[in-house]
Symmetry: C2
């Protein structure tokens, strides 16, 4: 299993747009083969900051996400709404180690 945390900083005037555009990416991603989670979170301290918590069974499944129509559509839609470039951090799962717990 592999987890990618994507930290996103959105221009204040596009927060609602970002939430709306991310719905399709979430819905498409959670039905991808190998997807375990695709959580979209908004900071309670700063509503312009979001975290995408993307969990896949394999690195290959995570890579395939970036070729999907819903991802490419989202990427294009949000491109001009970033306040600063987003960045991803990758993690391996320590616990829960059992894939059935995801």
């Amino acid at each position: 299993m592999i987890v990618t945390c994507v930290f996103v900083h959105v221009k204040a005037e596009h927060v609602s747009d970002f939430i709306a555009a991310s719905r399709g990416n979430h819905q498409g991603s959670v039905v991808e083969e190998g997807n375990l989670r695709f959580d979209v979170l908004q900071s309670t301290d700063d509503p312009t900051r979001f975290l995408l918590y993307e969990v896949y069974t394999t690195p290959e499944a995570a890579a395939r996400h970036k070729a999907t129509a819903h991802y490419l559509e989202w990427r294009a839609a949000v491109a001009d709404w970033m306040a600063t470039p987003r960045h991803g951090e990758t993690y391996r799962v320590v616990y829960p180690a059992d894939v059935s717990r995801w």
Copy 2:
């Protein structure tokens, strides 16, 4: 629902100790009332960096975690193993909005 991401930087010589100590905290936390997830992740780029992804149904349930025996035991065990102070960031859930999807 409320998500707390705790970013942890462990001294290199205590990485294995930290993983071992976090097992009990994970196992105790996932059976707390109101807990939805308690994921323990290790950075693929830097094995001394960990992320705890703690999801609760309410802020009250998240607060109660800090009074549990497994949390207090973990906190005491890891206190001397931190390379830098750990910090938490709190998020609200955008998607999936349905608690049954957690």
